[in-house]
Amino acid sequence: MMNCRVLLIDDEEELVTTLVERLEIRGICADAMTNGHDALEKMRDVDYHVVVADLKMPGLSGPEVIEIIKKRYPKVKIVLITGHGNTAHSEQEYPVNEIDEILMKPFHIDNLIEAISRVLDISGEEKQ
């Protein structure tokens, strides 16, 4: 299994907690946070390899959180998950340079794991 730590940030608590549980079943160490502030707090204590963040959240929005994380921890990889299509937003809203992968909700858990593997540049063999 992957030897990495993942932080999930989404205001939908049921979604992130379930995802954490499912990732852990698959041997991936994951934590869930429901807002940007808590996530940033958490990151002071734990080193994460990948942050999976929602685009739209109350308080700090996805792009804002991502920007701060990228500033503080440039090595951390970012996967953006969103319920929006690209028609709903103008392109300026996406911090495209900071994002490594985008997933459209709802997604398959395997797709998430694939995305995480990709951003960590782990080949399929290694992953297995």
């Binding site: 939908e12 049921e14 979604l15 379930t18 995802l19 549980e21 499912r22 079943i25 319920g83 929006h84 299509g85 690209n86 028609t87 709903a88 103008s90 392109e91 300026q92 996406y94 495209v96 985008i102 459209m104 909700k105 709802p106 997604f107 398959h108 858990i109």
Partner: protein, 573 residues
């Protein structure tokens, strides 16, 4: 080009719903304009012509009246003079000659000859004594001893001293009249010198130069008996067809009297000391005809200008109404385009927000079902394991179906950003139609590419353009029969844009459907379509700064026209 301009969607709608009402309105406008303009321009012209006619008429009437009174005046003066001259001759004779001399037949004959030679017109001469008997007579007939005492003429000459008689045939059987003069001697006795004057003598005087064909000049007596022959107002010594006009000392012109059937001018003049009334009639010529003849130049001018005015009015009004109609059309078209764009934008926003709101709960359902699957999978001896896994699989499968819809609705593409690169559209379209190559080949569908003119490369997003053209070509392939035809025409527009026409000769789209084809979930393919293809296409084209138009006719085919800018600056909403 023209085909498209006329046929783009909103205009088609307008054309078909309001056609008859619309036409009626413009026809009314046309009539109003034509009638009004003609009235304004022709009425003054006609009034001018009418005034001209009236003035002409007045001038002609005055001329006729003047002519008539001049003729009357000169003729009556001649007549009066001739009669007066003869009366004077008799007066002179009766004064200068004693009664005895007059009664001497030889002497009277001499006097008669003198009068005849000097004045002319005398037929005979006689002397009547106070008892009314003609005592001496010189002339061609034997009238000596005739008693005139019972005639009214005799009484009159006694009272007035002179007398001019009506014309009569008398004993001589040719028209003549009598003039008599009384001479009263100092002893109170009197005698009368009586002469007969040949009427021919007067007839010769009754002459009017330039007499018209139906004009007439004649004399009637105060009793209305014709004294001279006339052309059309009665024979000599018969009653005149004209009533005796009222007495007037002056020349009178009467325009209302009608003799025979012709309306004519009638001028008359009572000749002093005689029973004669000189009458001249002049046929009232058809003044309108005369006016037409005399004013032919004016008339030609009038008709020409009227025709010219009518022509110009028709031409200009038609042109104006056409312009108005075109302008109205254009305005309606623009308005409907705006309306349609707004509607599509609203639908787009609505469906995007609905899809977004659904995606989050879908994700939760998905993960919960996934978690349950995980748990069931890793738990040994799970009761009803297979059944549960199957049910969970169905839940996840249904979520998949939902998410497919919401993803398409949101126009999701893996690449979130629009990547600009230079694209040569003919090449891109070749690539896209190659995707369909197999199906096209299988169904024997011909896809023709026609790049017209020098087509510039455009700066746009390749994958999104591919999706746009793939969608439309897919539809075209689905619409045509086996062996059908699809034409792709690419041409530059004004050096600012590039237009791509994709035409098929397929089944076409009904007018009703044509208004909805860009709306999401509108599908004519029944179970086979999601109704999102063209909606996404519409959204993508708009996003790329282009426009998409469609026109279609059932059983003839459908044409899409996509116009793309050379370079699109994304607008910030």
């Amino acid at each position: 080009m023209e085909f498209f301009k006329q046929m783009i969607l909103p205009f088609r709608l307008l054309k078909n719903t309001d056609k008859s009402e619309d036409l009626k309105r413009y026809r009314r406008l046309w009539w109003y304009s034509v009638v009004l303009t003609l009235l304004v321009s022709l009425v003054p012209l006609l009034i001018m012509t009418g005034v001209n006619f009236l003035m002409f008429r007045e001038a002609i009437l005055t001329e006729i009246r003047y002519d008539l009174s001049r003729n009357l005046s000169s003729t009556s003066r001649s007549l009066q003079f001739v009669i007066e001259e003869r009366l004077s001759a008799l007066r002179y004779t009766v004064r200068e000659t004693t009664r005895e001399e007059l009664l001497d037949e030889e002497r009277l004959s001499e006097t008669f000859q003198n009068l005849r030679n000097t004045f002319g017109g005398f037929v005979d001469l006689g002397v009547i004594s106070s008892d009314g008997v003609q005592e001496v007579y010189v002339g061609p007939y034997n009238l000596e001893g005739v008693d005139y005492s019972d005639q009214s003429a005799f009484d009159e000459v006694i009272i007035r001293g002179m007398y001019v008689s009506d014309v009569f045939m008398g004993h001589r059987h040719f028209p003549h009249f009598v003039i008599s003069v009384k001479y009263e001697s100092n002893d109170g006795d009197f005698h009368i010198l009586r002469a007969t004057v040949d009427m021919d003598y007067l007839n010769r005087l009754i002459y009017v130069p330039n007499m018209g064909h139906s004009d007439d000049i004649f004399i009637i007596s105060r009793e209305g008996i014709m004294q001279t022959p006339s052309r059309s107002h009665g024979y000599l010594l018969e009653s005149s067809t004209i009533d005796v006009p009222a007495f007037s000392p002056d020349i009178e012109i009467d325009e209302t009297l009608s003799g025979t059937n012709l309306t004519c001018f009638l001028g008359y003049c009572y000749i002093e000391n005689t029973p004669f009334i000189l009458i001249i009639t002049k046929e009232r010529t058809n003044l309108l005809v005369e006016w037409f003849e005399r004013q032919s130049l004016l008339l030609v001018f009038l008709i020409t200008s009227a025709l010219l005015i009518i022509l110009v009015v028709f031409w200009s009004v038609t042109k104006m109404v056409k312009h108005v109609r075109a302008a109205d059309r254009h305005r309606t078209q623009v308005l409907m385009n705006i309306e349609y764009t707004n509607k599509m934008a609203t639908i787009g926003r609505l469906s995007a927000s609905v899809a977004h709101e659904i995606n989050n709960p879908l994700a939760i359902i998905n993960e919960k079902a996934g978690l349950l699957t995980d748990i069931v999978s890793i738990t040994d001896e799970f009761p009803n394991r297979e059944k549960t896994l199957k049910a969970l699989g169905t839940i996840i499968g249904s979520v998949d179906r939902c998410s497919k819809v919401t993803h398409r609705l949101l126009g999701f593409t893996r690449k979130m950003q629009t990547k600009s690169e230079f694209i040569y559209l003919p090449q891109l379209l070749e690539e896209v139609s190659n995707f369909l190559g197999r199906e096209a080949l299988h169904r024997n569908i011909n896809i023709y590419h026609d790049a017209r003119g020098d087509i510039p490369s455009i700066e746009s997003d390749r994958s999104q353009l591919q999706q746009v053209f793939l969608n439309i070509l897919n539809n075209a392939v689905a619409a045509v029969e086996n062996g059908g035809k699809i034409n792709i025409i690419i041409e530059p527009v004004n050096g600012q844009k590039v237009a791509v026409d994709i035409r098929d000769n397929g089944s076409g789209i009904s007018e009703e459907n044509l208004t909805h084809i860009f709306e999401p979930f509108f599908s004519t393919k029944g179970e086979f379509g999601t109704g999102l293809g063209l909606s996404i296409t519409y959204g993508l084209v708009q996003k790329l700064g282009g426009t998409i138009d469609v026109e279609s006719e059932l059983d003839v085919g459908t044409a899409f026209r996509i116009t793309l800018p050379l370079k699109h600056e994304p607008s910030v909403e």
